[in-house]
Amino acid sequence: MAKADNDFDILVAGAGYVGLAAAVSIAGAAPDLKIAVVDAAPEGVWQKDTRCSAIAAAAVRMLEQLGVWQAMVGEAEPITEMIVTDSRTADPVRPVFLTFSGDVGAGEPFAWMTPNKIMNGALREKAAGLGVTILQSTPIERFETGPGHVTLHTPDGREFTARLLVAADGVRSRLREQAGIRTVTWDYGQSGIVCTVAHERPHGGRAEEHFLPAGPFATLPLKGNRSSIVWTERTADAERLVKEDPFVFEVELETRFGHQLGALRLEDTPRAWPLGLTLARDFVTDRVALAGDAAHGIHPIAGQGLNLGFRDVAALAEVVVEAARLGQDIGTLDVLERYQQWRRFETVQMGITTDVLNRLFSNDLGPVRAIRDLGLGMVDRMPALKTFFMRQAAGLTGATPRLLKGEAL
């Protein structure tokens, strides 16, 4: 089927890991589908992202199956151990309530810390190899659905048509709003400070999450003697901290990080990201599917945002590819509803779990501390529950899409 230049089978809005992975997953299994990824940012901006992400075992299996992981593994640091403590900031010794170590499967770390730009670059390269068109500087101003297709308009007057629009344009998705899909939102009044530090001694592949009164403080191991910090504070405090003199910031950081790995040195400029819970009431409407943060922005307390995004991608790709194999119109509601049924329940469940965890732990009341310490201590002593938490952290529960099991579509 010869199509005009601006006419596609699938248009993906948003060239983050969710949008790119969706394009790669579908293009790899259904090479005849014509796919484009459009993104508002100018060319090359993605290379300036200095953040790192924890990619869970299931998502790694998917990236391996897509032939993308091979280009990332050299820059990825395995997390082989994870500890959780519940402390006041000034406590000299933080009792460890949960220790997770060992692998999800034989020889499989439960997550890998990977620089975002490495993942994004590997996905872009694979997408280009599969014939996916990537258009930067292409914001979508509005779209309308007509019979059999959706038409997208850019502010500079360009037009694109497609049978299916995948909105992967982030937690403040404009396309979601345009589609008339409402959300449930909650602002935590907290922000996550993200930065990278170098330390004198090796971290040994260990991730730590300390539940401090203002919110969780997590350290995640990076390549070399470096760690990624995700540090939650009340928004006003977070904004003040990132604007402080680097010396003051480092002192505050050391108070929380501790001295067990020796002297610390900040490697980049800390930035604060406001945290909230945003759940879309619907994941789909006629010709439109939401994926990733556009469908669900959750609290990063359990490190699940990215992995929920990959689960969306795996489920959506499986549904779309199966429909294409049956000759169905991939943008119709009867096809897209399968994706919605598959993803919505688990997402709401994860949103509520992370919300409760955050409310429970961002708290310095004595009785609440006693109850949650008891809770974490019990989890540590109950192997079945611990396995559940570990497997959940690795993204292995629920009805699993084939890609997440490392199988081809």
Binding site: P147, A324, G327, Q328, D334
Partner: protein, 249 residues
């Protein structure tokens, strides 16, 4: 009406047909049961045609080069997917309204389908021949099953296939497909199916026997109310499909 997609119907009529097309194709609308039923039929057709003709199961257009007839095509719920899979499809329906609806929707979907308001008899007598004849949910509505099956079978090329889907004449079928689907769940308008016109597998065999077609397999199609999904099964008591072939040249 001609066979080329041109129409002499005026614009008010076209608008009425467009609304009907939207209704035919609304997965939550009047034809919801057919939409729910469609994936299991499509999957069966895809797998069987690929296996029979030795086609590439990985291809997105495996049916390239094959000529299909969709008899009783309605709004085109089967004709469109078959076209996307590469087949060159003739969709026939005795209802001119259905054909107009199907044409409008195919144009909206950007698909080239040869829709004709005609009957199996007329097509067969005109000498039309096909690699695959889809004969889905029609036989229980025709006046003369034996004549109808003979005419359909005539159109299958040597080495070709015919798919027949229908409803068995059993008490269970009356309970589920007529009383359940038409009176209790209101999935279908009352009177869609008449019990005495339902066709048993044995009657279908008898109608096929003189046509030179060989029955390859029969499978049931059952509804799972919990998953709200249809799946193939071994139970032929209600909905069932028969796959038959004409021996090769």
């Amino acid at each position: 009406m001609t066979d080329t997609g041109q129409t002499t119907i005026d614009s008010a009529e076209v608008e009425r047909f467009s609304r009907m097309a939207a209704e035919w194709w609304d997965p939550r609308g009047k034809f919801r049961p057919l939409h729910k039923f469609n994936p299991v039929r499509l999957d069966y057709i895809r797998q069987s045609v690929i296996a029979h003709f030795g086609l590439d199961a990985r291809a997105t257009r495996p049916f390239d080069g094959l000529r299909f007839l969709d008899i009783g095509c309605g709004g085109g719920l089967l004709s469109e997917p078959m076209t996307r899979l590469g087949a060159s499809v003739t969709g026939a329906d005795a209802s001119e309204v259905n054909i107009e609806v199907a044409r409008i929707h195919a144009a909206e979907s950007g698909l080239d389908i040869d829709y004709r308001a005609t009957t199996a008899e007329a097509l067969a007598d005109a000498g039309e021949r096909f690699d695959v004849v889809l004969n889905m949910e029609v036989v229980e509505h025709v006046a003369d099953v034996n004549l109808y099956m003979r005419k359909c079978a005539e159109m299958v090329k040597p080495g070709g296939l015919m798919f027949i889907a229908t409803i068995n004449r059993t008490m269970k079928a009356w309970g589920l497909a007529i009383f359940g689907a038409e009176y209790v769940l209101r999935w279908l308008p009352k009177g869609t199916h008449q019990y005495e016109k339902l066709v048993t597998p044995a009657e279908l065999d008898a109608a096929l026997a003189p046509t030179g077609m060989t029955v390859l397999e029969r499978s049931g199609v059952s509804y799972n109310p919990l998953a709200d999904r249809w799946a193939r099964s071994r139970d032929l008591d209600v909905n069932y499909m028969v796959l038959a072939s004409r021996p090769g040249a």
